[in-house]
């Protein structure tokens, strides 16, 4: 699989930002979602793309629409004007 294809398949997320903002640890989030705590780490690092079911549950946990947490395009950096 080429690097371009991998980038296309990659789902970007803001789990780390939301987690930091709400003061939730990886273990707390993992426990609430019923997944291994390392899975949260892999998700944040972009090494694992969640199923639709897990993505919706993560969004529901943070009480935001799913597109606030996940995107096919990279999220703009904080302070970015674009």
């Amino acid at each position: 699989m080429s690097a371009d294809k991998e980038n296309k398949d990659n789902v970007h997320n803001r789990i780390a930002v939301l987690r930091a903002e709400r003061g939730v640890s990886r273990r707390d989030l993992a426990s609430a979602l019923g997944v291994h705590y390392q899975t949260i780490g892999y998700l944040e690092r972009g090494e694992y793309s969640p199923s639709l079911h897990l993505a919706l549950r993560i969004a529901a946990y943070f009480e935001v629409p799913v597109e606030v947490v996940f995107s096919l395009e990279p999220f703009p950096r904080l302070g970015s004007t674009n």
């Binding site: 990886r26 273990r27 291994h36 390392q38 944040e44």
Partner: protein, 176 residues
């Protein structure tokens, strides 16, 4: 991911623990995989030695010595790999999350391909080994040991495959 009994709870606790020691981290896990592959190779060598030397005292002593080494090292290694891979292959399905299940599927698919290659190599080796009555001349001890080696290989390959592939997880929050 709810354990259904005490044994499952113990297994889950064991695999949720942060791995320490020589098998922690990707390099350590890969060293464990190399060691595991060496032990499997030893089992196959054992069958080959038995084929050539059995029935004889030399074959018997070699067999017992190799089996003792493989069993002793194998028990330590199996535990290390189970903890190192967080039970991805060994835990019951309902104790795994979707990422771990995906890893397990990949491991079994990779192990299946490797097993096919191995079986083909064994078939080719047997076919090329000699005369038409080669099967009749194989000592029964060698057949038993080859079966044992095959069984161990099929059992170990998924764990070895996933241990080789897993990347290091991010540090825990407490360590950041």
């Amino acid at each position: 991911m709810e354990p259904r009994n005490k044994r499952e709870a113990q297994l889950l606790e064991l695999t949720q623990r942060r791995p320490g020691g020589w098998y922690a981290g990707r390099a350590g896990r890969r060293r464990a995989v190399v060691l595991g592959a060496a032990l499997l190779a030893l089992l196959w060598a054992n069958a080959a030695v038995s084929w050539k030397l059995a029935p004889s005292d030399a074959a018997m002593y070699t067999c017992f010595a190799i089996l003792a080494v493989v069993v002793a090292a194998g028990v330590v290694l199996w535990r290390a790999l189970t903890i190192g891979t967080r039970g991805t292959v060994g835990l019951p399905q309902h104790l795994l999350d979707e990422r771990q299940r995906e890893d397990r599927l990949w491991a079994h698919a990779a192990a299946h391909r490797l097993t096919l290659l191995l079986l083909f190599a064994v078939y080719l080796g047997t076919f090329m080994a000699g005369s038409d009555d080669v099967i009749e001349k194989v000592p029964s001890a060698a057949v038993v040991l080859a079966g044992l080696a095959l069984l161990a290989t099929v059992a170990m390959l998924p764990t070895l495959a996933v241990a080789w592939r897993l990347t290091d997880p991010p540090e825990d929050d407490e360590d950041e």
